[in-house]
Symmetry: C2
Subunit: 202 residues, 2 copies
């Protein structure tokens, strides 16, 4: 009987290996050869699934996006109040542990790629649009529930929360001073408070 290979499953496994490498050693460490060594598969198998290092990184980006989508779902389904949900959304995108540090590094790489070439831009625009939708949805729910002011400028608050989180995450990856601030207790809650101030009207 021929061996049945679940190709999607194996691609996912290898993308996870790439993310683990990014977390542990940074983006420069990700090569198909290193991913082969880390996964126990041969370089030939790696090359079968990924034509290049760029392909492997793109798979890692998509895998990070898929995991992030699940995180959003579990936050939104969690039953906490809007402020706690929003704080959890901010925490989910900050480099607070190895998994999220890898995600930040991979997103930063593709932000820069997207700025340089059309190829990655569509992916990144899609992730930004989903993130904006999640934040906006929680803000609107909070206004309805009475957690946030009914006259909140949801556009302005959404925009501020995305910029603050992205800027803080990217600077933290490069700069130890910023990383210490981002990892201090209550940082995400302060981002939420600042975004609500940015959306305050009247």
């Amino acid at each position: 009987m021929p061996k049945i290979v679940d190709h999607d499953e194996r691609r996912r496994e290898l993308a996870d290996v790439a993310l683990a490498l990014v977390a542990r050693e940074g983006l420069a460490a990700v090569t198909t050869r290193a991913a082969a060594a880390e996964s126990g598969w041969s370089t030939g198998v790696l090359n079968h699934y990924f034509a290049s290092r760029g392909d492997l990184l793109l798979a890692a980006l998509r895998r990070a996006g898929e995991l992030q989508g699940r995180t959003y779902e579990s936050i939104l389904d969690g039953g906490a109040d809007a402020r706690a949900r929003l704080t959890a959304v901010v925490e989910s995108v900050l480099p607070l542990d190895d998994r999220r540090l890898a995600m930040t590094r991979v997103f930063l790489f593709f932000y820069a790629e997207g700025a340089a070439a059309e190829g990655a831009r569509g992916e990144i625009e899609g992730f930004l649009a989903r993130w904006r939708r999640v934040v906006r949805g929680v803000l609107e729910a909070g206004c309805r529930e009475g957690t946030f002011p009914p006259d909140l400028d949801v556009d302005a608050a959404t925009f501020a929360l995305l910029s603050l989180s992205d800027g803080a995450a990217f600077e933290a990856v490069l700069d130890p001073v910023t990383m210490a601030v981002v990892r201090a207790d209550g940082f995400a809650a302060r981002c939420v408070a600042a975004a609500l101030s940015a959306g305050a009207t009247g």
Copy 2:
């Protein structure tokens, strides 16, 4: 008599050419060949000054940093009140015209490089530290002058302003929705107001 060549001057000229290419066509357009064509110098001359595309981009980063340093000086010496100076600092780092769009793209590229490899990290850390010093200095002056509340949490406000500006600038380069927000009237002033809220105490 031998021709006297000012090598620093020529390197600067070629770095400006690279920045003009980034502004007009994006980072992917920057090659030593394209910079040669744009500048009127031969590829040989380009290769004499820059061993690789990476070298040319690094020169463009340093040139952008040098121009930005002059911009900070002229803002700080300008005699406007602290709020106006701070708003001008924010405007100077947002992609509001071609020059600043090129700067954002080049910085984003090196943020990602810095996240991937040690080489660029020192440069970027230096730029972040200078920017933080400028913002903090204007905030402290504003507290002394009475423009800002005397009990402002200057650390928190500085941090928020850097994150907001960087996040907005990087997202704008990738995302037309964000670019429209960033280029709308009064955006920098709203960033300043949000940062002051983030630093409000009591």
